[in-house]
Symmetry: C2
Subunit: 229 residues, 2 copies
């Protein structure tokens, strides 16, 4: 599903260059559940943003489903994002003046796969699965940090994506809520064969994945299988 070759991302700030990714090469097969780990500032979110077609690399190739993403137009990239991908952002990125229910319905509006009754049902079911039935009409400022994060998780899976990219999805969640979320991801991966790439800094959470890749200073330093899941 994903083939990345010598991926480089350099941010230029005036005179200063920040080399966030310094040549990453790896493959991820359809249906894999991969955890991405590494120190703060090592390039995890930068890597996820490129995989999610939200940002372009400075150099190197990225093939998604055998299509060279760098050759696509902005509209084609937006289409891939809206139809194939689900994204949990590190900062949640919810629309501030919009309720939890409307935030979760949003991806379905873009992808045009469901009618309005189906959208309402799927959004409510996704919010129920993350334990937020009682907060569906709350806007983000009326919810706790972990509740906002769970709205972002519900939004990422509502469109039946091919690939879910989750950046620190349990950063604001207590252990038992985290376990419920990881069970949802694991079920989507095993029953619907959805590919999941998840950044985490928590060892316990990484053990739900099948494979762990570690970044340090923008380079891939480890890539190993998880034993005894």
């Amino acid at each position: 599903l994903i083939m990345v070759n010598n991926l480089v991302k350099t941010y230029i700030m005036g005179e200063v260059k920040v080399r966030a990714l310094r040549g990453i090469t790896l493959d991820i097969k359809s249906g894999e559940f991969v955890a991405v780990m590494g120190p703060s500032g090592s390039g995890k979110s930068t890597f996820m943003n490129i995989l999610g077609c939200l940002d372009k690399p400075t150099d190197g190739q990225y093939l998604l489903d055998n299509v060279d993403v760098s050759k696509l137009t902005r509209n084609e990239l937006a289409k891939i994002r809206n139809v194939k991908l689900g994204f949990v952002f590190q900062g949640f990125n919810l629309l501030a003046r919009t309720t939890a229910l409307e935030n979760v319905e949003l991806p379905m509006l873009y992808s045009d796969k469901f009618d309005s009754i189906e959208r309402d049902e799927k959004a409510k079911e996704a919010l129920r699965s993350v334990g937020l039935t009682k907060r569906i009409n709350h806007v983000p400022s009326q919810m706790s940090g972990g509740e906002q994060q769970r709205v972002a998780i519900a939004r990422s899976l509502v469109n039946d994506p091919v690939l879910i990219l989750a950046d620190e999805p349990t950063g604001n969640l207590d252990t038992s809520t985290s376990v419920e979320i990881m069970n949802i991801f694991q079920k989507l991966n095993e029953e619907k064969n959805i590919t999941i790439i998840m950044v985490t800094h928590e060892h316990d959470i990484s053990q739900y994945s099948q494979r762990i890749i570690s970044l340090r200073d923008g380079k891939l330093i480890e890539d190993y299988k998880v034993e005894n899941r």
Copy 2:
């Protein structure tokens, strides 16, 4: 330092009442290092916002340094916040168009304790202690999640506060960066007798504190000492 009696916080949304805190009673002595734990949505941030004089309870008493906070004017509350308190918000709350250095200097501008040369030195030292010397001129959008969180941590301690309230300060940090941050908090607590109240969902992080209080559905359900620190 802190005495809380039957603290209640109820949010009113049209017809719906959300009882975020349902009567919390406890004391925290000067120089204590307390961890606050509990499920997502249990009232931890609501409790921290009231302790930090950023929000008023719906009912109950809060004495800070034997002063009844509910009797204070807005200006007096702001003065307490700027001079006595350091705050690490769950959402970082950095100023977006402002560099890391300027964000960390901000509390010192309000408290008027230091001149401009001292402010610059103290801010750089605080950013050095959290490992961000190379990012002092970056604005938040030019930093990773964990780097923004560390700017927020540096900002909370730069004013030599009496009390630091840290809401999930390691939620976006890898283990070794988290250990560095916890060593900073522990040193401030042991060497400068700064009182620290810290929300965390990670058991390993809670073990740096001397006392753990647990909330569930807005109530205090556990309050115990940490053994074998």
